[in-house]
């Protein structure tokens, strides 16, 4: 069979556009709210809403453990989950480079559909634009999501308190490391898969039993280290990590060792930071360990009154050192 590609005609609004929407998007996203009109008509739920938007430009678009489609759902669903919001509806906008294989676009849409189903969110509206060759890189996706905040839940980066426990819901830096190895020609072969996953169900299970979680943050760009510096600044507290407790996949640790990178600063797409009263640590970990994407959850440290605005590490020899603040582009070390 001849391979088919997206052409500028697919974006011109005529028969080809309708065909693209029918065969690729409607086939994957079909649900009662998915609109053929100018806007989706939705039922307004009770309580408070959370809304967020994110654009995805990952290169390469397909990587071990996922693709840009799966990522575009996880990113937005997880942002809502961080506010304690059950994801309800999403929209998606595609910017596609002329010549992008149709088969790949179908795979992206299928991954979106599957991930949305897993997260329990409905895709209700979408948009497709096609740009000329070289004006975009393959496919870019924007997603916007609306969710309903669970009653009685209030999370914020400004709510961390001394004595709180710092939990990560899985091992750190795996997505960033996966992309780095795919993108740069380091010639390093490692069996590493992105952690990309929708985490709403895990977050929901925790919040149902422990509603007083203070902070939940998605450790995407900049990784766990950047998130902790943000929280330390917003809450005016210090973060003290136990360096031995930070879970890192052995292959990720190996690659980071070779390239001189700190796993705490590599992006995660299926790992969050949770900060909660210290006495709730064991309960939260038990719940997380029972959920499929958060079985590697660990308590990695505590919030302190001292060292306000900073993140420090207790090293294996018992010394306290500063986690160097985030900055600059990621560069591999020489030797």
């Amino acid at each position: 069979m001849k391979e088919e590609y997206v052409t500028l005609a697919h974006g011109a609004g005529g028969k080809k556009t309708a065909q693209l929407i029918e065969t690729v998007f409607r086939a994957a996203f079909e649900n009662p709210y998915f609109t053929a009109d100018d806007a989706a008509v939705l039922r307004v739920p009770q309580g408070e809403l959370a809304m967020t938007t994110d654009s995805f430009i990952v290169s390469p678009a397909f990587f071990p453990g996922g693709n840009i489609g799966k990522l575009s759902i996880c990113g937005t669903v997880n942002d809502l989950a961080c506010m304690g919001a059950e994801p309800l509806y999403m929209t998606c906008g595609f910017i596609i480079e002329e010549g992008f294989p149709l088969e790949k676009l179908k795979k992206v849409a299928e991954a979106m559909s599957q991930t949305a189903r897993e997260a329990g969110v409905l895709l209700v509206a979408g948009d497709t634009k096609v740009v000329g060759k070289g004006q975009a890189d393959g496919v870019f996706i924007n997603t916007t999501g609306i969710g309903r905040i669970m009653d009685g839940i209030r999370t914020s980066g400004a709510l961390a308190r001394p004595g709180d426990v710092i939990i990560v819901t899985g091992d750190v830096g795996r997505h960033g490391c996966t992309i780095l190895l795919e993108r740069e020609d380091f010639g390093i072969e490692a069996d590493i898969k992105s952690d990309c996953a929708p985490l709403w169900k895990a977050v929901r299970s925790v919040l149902l039993e422990v509603p007083d979680v203070h902070v939940i943050r998605d450790a995407t760009r900049g990784g766990v280290g950047t998130v902790l510096y943000e929280i330390a600044g917003q809450s005016g507290v210090g973060c003290e990590l136990n360096s031995e407790a930070v879970p890192v996949d052995p292959a990720v640790r190996g690659v980071c060792g070779m390239l001189g990178l700190e796993p705490l600063y590599l992006a995660c797409e299926g790992t969050m930071v949770m900060i909660a009263p210290g006495d709730k640590a064991d309960r939260i970990l038990d719940i997380l360990h029972g959920s499929p994407h958060t079985q590697g959850a660990r308590a990695i440290g505590k919030i302190t009154k001292e060292e306000a605005g900073r993140v420090v590490m207790r090293t294996r020899i018992g010394a306290l050192t500063l986690l160097p603040p985030p900055g600059g582009e990621l560069l591999p070390r020489i030797c």
Binding site: L259, R316, A319, L322, L331, I334
Partner: protein
């Protein structure tokens, strides 16, 4: 745990004051990362020596790379850290903004492979580093035997001249394990005979603490010594195979160390037989002497004559985001480590 015992020995040290120079950038970085400086008593001072290849790369070398990239249109393949090192008027990162093609590679052989796949480009690999990295550059030259679009811009350095230049700045050396895995320990033993003490160390917290504990324990006894505390990797004879490979392709030459000056026979250049892989000869580069910011005290920092915070630029004009001196660029540089770890 062995490291706790070693840590105790260091914390209880009550002998004469001792200055220990760690010569390797990876040591400097790891010592900060593990918080080792924080547990040392006042009598033990650590000095970060000239063992970060980026930090000792002179401005003139950066000027040469910029000229190759912008005037000769070459594709520059380099280890990442070099990209931001300031030259006389610009860094490679600045040159990239003006259209230079700069590719970051992890191994020299990757650069040769890139050249093989891009015959329309002239590819230049920036061959910096010490005894540990030079063999890899030589392998790349051998790999590129059939190519006429691949060359090296050499600034490789060797350690013995640096030990000699630094011997009065320290009481003992913490020798870099990876360098001596290649060279062997003959030079260290010879220095001990001349009264210059040292230990060869590995790179984990446990290996570093053990080496430091051995060093101060022996120092207290007052006799010059050398102890190989990294026998797992460093053998007395080193790696003769790697040395033969380098010997075949390169030869020693005088070399400029940033902030220190020219140290005789402390560099490596391609032999005449391999002139066609030598970017300087291939593109007839004129000698470039470069000029760095006169207020920058990287040279003194590298020699242990001052601490990074003694430099008037440190943390004000010169930061990891906007480095003035090379010691601020690399994560292994002393200034960068002092800045980042506070």
């Amino acid at each position: 745990m062995a490291e706790m015992k070693a840590a105790q020995i260091l914390q209880k040290y009550d002998g004469p004051p001792v200055r220990i120079m760690e010569v390797c950038g990876t040591h400097t970085h790891e010592i900060f990362r593990q918080g080792i400086r924080r547990i040392l008593p006042a009598k033990i001072t650590l000095i970060s020596g000239p063992g970060c290849p980026v930090c000792v790369t002179p401005a003139g070398f950066i000027d040469e790379t910029v000229s190759l990239a912008l005037e000769h249109g070459c594709t520059i393949c380099t280890f990442g850290d070099l990209v931001r090192v300031p030259g006389t008027s610009m860094s490679l990162a600045d040159a990239r903004g003006q259209g230079a093609k700069v590719r970051v590679v992890y191994a020299p052989a990757d650069a040769a492979e890139y050249a093989a796949g891009h015959p329309e480009e002239q590819v230049v690999f920036l061959s910096v580093g010490f005894e540990t990295t030079t063999p890899a550059s030589c392998i790349a030259v051998e790999k590129a035997a059939a190519l006429d679009n691949f060359s090296l811009l050499t600034a490789g350095k060797t350690m013995p001249a640096a030990y000699d230049a630094m011997r009065h700045s320290t009481d003992l050396f913490l020798y870099p394990g990876h360098v001596h895995a290649i060279t062997g320990t003959g030079i260290c033993e010879k220095l001990a005979e001349e009264g210059v003490s040292g230990v060869c160390a590995g790179f984990t917290a446990s290996e570093l603490l053990t080496a430091l504990a051995v060093a101060v324990t022996r120092f207290e006894k007052g006799e010059p010594f050398f102890v190989n505390c990294y026998p797992r990797v460093v053998k007395r004879e080193g790696s003769p195979a790697a040395r033969r490979l380098v010997e075949r392709i390169m030869e020693p030459c005088d070399s400029e160390w940033r902030g220190i000056g020219v140290l005789p026979m402390s560099g490596m250049k391609l032999r005449d037989k391999y002139a066609r892989y030598d970017a300087r000869r291939k593109f007839s580069l004129p000698p470039m002497h470069g000029r760095s910011n006169p207020a920058c005290r990287c040279g003194e920092v590298l020699q242990g004559k001052c601490l990074p915070r003694d430099c008037s630029l440190f943390g004000k004009v010169c930061t990891p985001e906007h480095p003035v001196g090379a010691c601020m660029v690399s994560g292994e540089g002393a200034c960068s480590a002092f800045y980042l770890y506070g």
